[in-house]
Amino acid sequence: MADKSKLTDQDRSFYEWQLDVPGMGDEGQTKLRNTTALVTRIGGLGGPMALSLAAAGIGKLILVHGGNLEPSDLNRQVLMRHDDLGTPRVLSAAKTLRALNPNIELETIESHVTANNVDDLVAKADIVFDAAPRFSERFWLNAACVKTGTPMIDAAMYSMEGQVIVIVPGATPCLACLYPEEPSHWKRRFPVLGAVSAMIGNMAVLEGIKLLTGIGKLSLGEMLYLDTLTMGLRKIAITRRSNCHVCQP
């Protein structure tokens, strides 16, 4: 069996341009290769997340998404192909990712995150990338990650803005500290430009890679908020709720 603690010559040939990133080296790359990342869902945010994680050489990707590809998905879903219209999105995504990097392991789940499957899904992962468009899914993931101590990078966007939050159970406030309840007036439909969702998705991946490899300064306990109309980046210090029903005993 191959020694997974060392990079192979093939690894080096694939990743040589990023091995030179300060702090990455063999050690950082090996950490990525030994990581299982769960990405849900595979849309405007989650697609670019999965793409960048696959390109960076994450060991295993678990892609979670229910439903088939529709024409209106294609303005932002970079893993999808026109020929795959009407077929499961997660399979279309896996096909593209396999073509990009055949050396990573892929698992596809043709379902959204639910209250019933969330614990099993999170248990399989070392890190969760949350791009779910419903607050209920985000809250289930948050609770499961806090319970298991699994780090979660939560990303969200609306029109020309987006946000990324790094949640490290025990070290940072959680999503329920920021949103103590499901927004009652929030509507599922929102404007999306593919370049914006890709940018926010990639901000989330960068935070994830920093967390996994130890490169740079992680935005712990902060919400990163990017307004692409002005390219203004805000960092909002999130406060832990002393009575948070998820992360407080």
Binding site: R41, G43, G44, L45, R76, A131, A132, P133, R134, F135, R138, A155, A156, M157, Y158, S159, M160, E161, G162, Q163, L178, Y179, P180, E181, E182, P183, S184, H185, W186, R188, F190, V192, V196, S197, I200, G201, M223, Y225, D227, L229, T230, R234, K235, I236, A237, I238, T239, R241
Partner: protein, 96 residues
């Protein structure tokens, strides 16, 4: 004479769209309660803005993210404006 302090309001996407600007500064009487200031602000900006900030019982929506000088305000109802500051308000967003 009542002392006034400059308060800058910064709005994220949806709110900025309704206001037509991402930022505005206004003089506010020292010690004004934050909720009362936001209620006045909402009255100035019309029904859509009010709906984004307040629920049907006219309570500040709990899922708003309000930060003051970059720090998330956990309990905005308990706050008063005692010094010049920037208040950033975001309506909840998800997905993409």
């Amino acid at each position: 004479m009542e002392t006034e302090i400059p308060i800058t309001m910064a709005y994220a996407g949806q709110l900025a769209g309704v206001v037509g600007a991402s930022e505005e500064t206004a003089p506010v009487p020292l010690g004004t309660e934050l909720t009362s200031f936001l209620r006045d602000t909402a009255l100035r900006h019309g029904e859509k803005f009010q709906e984004l900030l307040f629920d049907e019982n006219e309570q500040l929506r709990r899922a708003l993210v309000i930060s003051i000088d970059g720090k998330h305000a956990l309990d905005p109802k308990a706050l008063s404006l005692t010094k010049p500051c920037e208040i950033f308000i975001m309506t909840p967003i998800a997905g993409g």
